[in-house]
């Protein structure tokens, strides 16, 4: 797995958490893992297809999500599944949006699918037998985990670049 594909996601997540949670962040140790992903809390799974393909999982405990929600809205929030889902979804959208911006400006073209939220005990389908990079980002609200599996499809990019430019 190429670090230049992973790094934009890590940088974007770190910047998004620091800015939106208005506090310092610290990137923990990176580790590689193969096999199905075991969630720590509520997870958003985002699939990417195009010049690069793979998936990103953003994962946080419900109590962390509630603290995040209170900061994002600037108000007390009720402890509900809906609030937790929306919080994880919003964080995932911001992280992916910022990562996509960095990768797109480097010339990569791909489609990002809307986040799928996983809250039940089911494993994350599609992540089986996938080599992924896992890291925790420490925030003022608690740890937020990222699981990133991304591959570069050079052939597809070469094919696209070889197409004649229409006038």
């Amino acid at each position: 797995m190429r670090m230049d594909l992973i790094q934009p996601f890590i940088n974007a997540a770190d910047a998004v958490f620091a800015e939106s949670l208005q506090g310092p962040t610290k990137i923990g140790d990176l580790l590689m893992e193969e096999g199905a992903y075991h969630r720590k809390g509520v997870a958003a799974l985002i699939v990417i297809k195009g010049d690069i393909e793979g998936r990103v999982i953003l994962d946080l405990a419900p109590e962390v999500a509630l603290k995040v929600a209170a900061i994002l809205t600037g108000a007390e929030v009720t402890d509900s599944e809906q609030v937790v889902r929306e919080t994880v979804c919003e964080l995932a959208n911001m992280v992916i949006g910022n990562s996509v911006t960095l990768l797109n400006d480097q010339g990569y073209r791909f489609k990002v699918f809307p986040p799928e939220i996983h809250m039940n005990d089911q494993g994350l389908a599609g992540s089986r037998d996938t080599e992924a990079m896992i890291l925790a980002i420490e925030t003022t609200c608690g740890n937020i985990y990222l699981n990133i599996a991304m591959h570069h499809l050079a052939r597809r990019r070469r094919e696209r670049d070889a197409l004649p430019v229409s006038s």
Binding site: V16, N93, G97, N98
Partner: protein, 150 residues
Amino acid sequence: MPQFAALLRKDNQPVRYLVVDDSVFARKNIIKMVQLFGGEIAGEAGDGLTAIAEYNRTKPDIVLMDITMPQMEGIEAVERIVRQYPEARIVMVSSVGYQENILAALQKGAKHFVQKPVKPEVLYEILRYVLSDDPALAGAPVALAGEHRS
């Protein structure tokens, strides 16, 4: 959060905003900021189609518009609103900030772009710029008690 001088219309009335985003959290966050700037919420919408209906109904001074939304995306909504109301002042607010996206929005008639997560001081400066571009709306920022100008 820092305090800001109120952005007012030329008639000293609060600037009226239409906030469009499919995320309730994002809307609440933006609303909190524009209220901090002395603004008033004319309406809210969670998709492009509703945004058009809300624009027709409320005729806001400024629209803050997300890009990626269900039913109708923000850029298409901008195009339709500007076609009907060429004077519309629309600022795109999105986490997806690559050049093609920004250019497409500007070509359809958006006035500016701000990337999420939104920094209040950045949004404030953009709103001040967009308002100053319209002589009918531009009013000098009015100091709030105890505030410091950013």
